[in-house]
Amino acid sequence: MSEVTTASVAVETLRTVRRERLRVILRSPTFLAGAILVGFWILCALVGAAVVPVDPYATDLLHELAPPSAAHWFGTDQLGRDVFSRVIVGARDILTVAPLATLLGTTLGTALGLVTGYFGGIVDETISRLIEAVLALPLIVVALLALVAIGASDSTVVVVIGLVFTPVISRTVRAAVLAERSLDYVSAAELRGEGSLYIMFVEILPNVVPPILVETTVRLGYAIFAVASLSFLGFGIQPPSADWGLTIADNYGLIDGGFWWTVTFPAIAVASLVVGVNLLADGLSKALAE
């Protein structure tokens, strides 16, 4: 009887902690500012194509490089395409590729981190060395090397960034698992005769979710940074997408001529999205740390 009461009290406390955390998160101005920015771009990615005033892919050779006006709020580019519509629609590809890459990296990284943290020893040592070697290269350089070798496309960008993120995320997960490993519930499960897989994924994993969540949000910021930069360099999202990095690459040769609107608006779009995601991550990590 008393055991049941203790358990239900524990569950109740856990719920209160969770509710409290949620309240702290929702009250953080940093988190809210980030949520508004990111929410806006997600909305654009989802319904942008249906609501934009002008077809973002339609060229109009009579109105090339027209400055912002009532007809074209953000002006037109060198093919006469409406910059406003393209900025809105441009959210779609990066908000597909970057989250998928992050998801892939988080899934693989979590599995790798659980294995290295739980088993330790030679497995851990070997994988740590490999990870250190990969981390000696900047993300952009690794991605460039891999994308040249296998050819750039949306899916290869997802795979390459996902794989590069795997070791980084696995390090965070491993550290969290090491802290859990010595706790009583793990020994209890081992004594019960549970298998390693069960202990790793059913017992330990739920307890290391908060750091994984923070790491995932931080990585999403990096993924957007990387995808945008790779697209700008021509190794990321491919034409005819209205992607922001791609648009800036196409038009930045013209800014000497004073055609600022072709690049300024996509630049603001990229900046607001990455800043938004990082504000989310910052708010989340502060709330979970309390």
């Binding site: 940093t30 060395r129 490999l130 250190e132 070697a133 990969v134 981390l135 000696a136 290269l137 900047p138 993300l139 952009i140 350089v141 690794v142 460039l144 090397l145 891999a146 994308l147 040249v148 070798a149 296998i150 910021g221 940074f225 945008a228 930069s229 700008f232 360099l233 021509g234 190794f235 990095g245 800036i248 930045y252 800014i255 000497d256 004073g258 600022w260 690049v263 300024t264 630049a267 990229v270 900046a271 990455v274 800043v275 995601v277 990082n278 504000l279 910052d282």
Partner: protein, 319 residues
């Protein structure tokens, strides 16, 4: 004694890292593309031409032989011949590295004092508006891709105000000041990205040191606050920042790829980018491996420096 052992251990680990890195780069550039000759000549090329090119490049030999050939030559400074320029890669790489070093040096000279100053000021005002402003601005600037900030800077300082040249190329034999003027604008995007990291570490270190017992003792014994900060807080606070500055080398080089491309500067970043565009695999491989070498050496120096400066590690030995 323990210090020497620590240094030797770190050097050995760095060598292992570099060896693994060379394997990864080799696999990336030689194995991943499948048929290198096919990748260079395109899908429509005659199979005989592809086979001939493969033979000429030596990529039809067993992998281990190729790896040994490439890595043993790299160590002796022979980095193969560029497929595009049909000349040895080494001199290109050396010139590019020297140019990048110039740009990186200007960026570091600007960002290290700025970042430390920002972080310390934030820590002195912890929790107040100034702290929030510095932290959020730093965080926001750090995450904006370099090509975005480059474009904005070019627009403002190059096109509108016409204060600074928008391209980092100058006429042969230009003086140091002209070179500096041309490199100032490309250095700023790198400064923006690095500022947040350095300021964050400096802030965290200072907050911790301000809270430490030795600081309280120093204040209680009546030392002027200025002396406490300079003599007791800062030396302890800024030690971890050294390591962060060195690890930022990696991000810095990643940033160079973008910045050098935007500003048309002939450094290691644009060398790798152009090699990638042209599928110049020998150039790409050597350039990427060189970046790994530079990064590994930088972190090694930082670790050793940290251990020399930190008495707890210097005298600690084994626990």
């Amino acid at each position: 004694m323990s210090g020497l052992r620590f240094v030797l251990r770190r050097v050995a680990l760095s060598l292992v890292t570099l060896w693994l890195l060379s394997v990864i780069v080799f696999l990336g550039a030689q194995v991943l593309p499948g048929d290198v000759g096919r990748a260079i000549l395109g899908p429509l090329a005659d199979p005989r031409a592809v086979a001939a090119l493969d033979h000429k490049l030596g990529v039809d030999r067993p992998l281990l032989v190729q790896y040994w050939d490439w890595s043993s030559h790299f160590v002796t400074g022979d980095m193969g011949r560029s497929l595009v320029y049909r000349q040895p890669v080494g001199p290109f790489l050396a010139a590019a590295l020297a140019n990048s070093l110039k740009l990186a040096a200007i960026a570091f000279l600007l960002v290290v004092p700025l970042g430390i100053f920002g972080g310390v000021v934030a820590a002195m005002n912890v929790g107040r508006a100034l702290d929030r402003i510095i932290t959020v601005t730093g965080l926001s600037m750090t995450v904006v891709p370099e090509f975005v900030s480059s474009i904005v800077l070019i627009l403002i300082f190059g096109v509108w105000l016409e204060w600074l040249p928008v391209s980092a190329s100058w006429r042969e034999g230009a003086g140091a000041f002209t070179q500096f003027r041309h490199l100032l604008l490309p250095a700023v995007p790198l400064v923006l990205v690095l500022f947040g990291y350095i300021a964050r570490m400096a802030r965290a270190g200072t907050v911790e040191a301000l809270d430490a017992d030795y600081t309280r003792t120093a204040v209680m014994k009546g030392l002027p606050f200025r002396t406490v900060v300079w003599r007791h807080v800062l030396p302890n606070a800024l030690l971890p920042t050294i390591t962060v500055i060195a690890t930022q080398m990696g991000y810095l080089i990643g940033g160079l790829v973008v910045v050098e491309t935007v500003f048309h500067y002939q450094g290691i970043g644009s060398l790798i980018y152009n090699a990638a565009k042209a599928k110049d695999f020998p150039m790409l491989e050597s350039g990427v491996l060189m970046i790994g070498v530079v990064y590994t050496i930088a972190t090694l120096i930082a670790d050793v420096l940290y251990s020399l400066l930190n008495p707890r590690i210097r005298f600690g030995g084994r626990e």
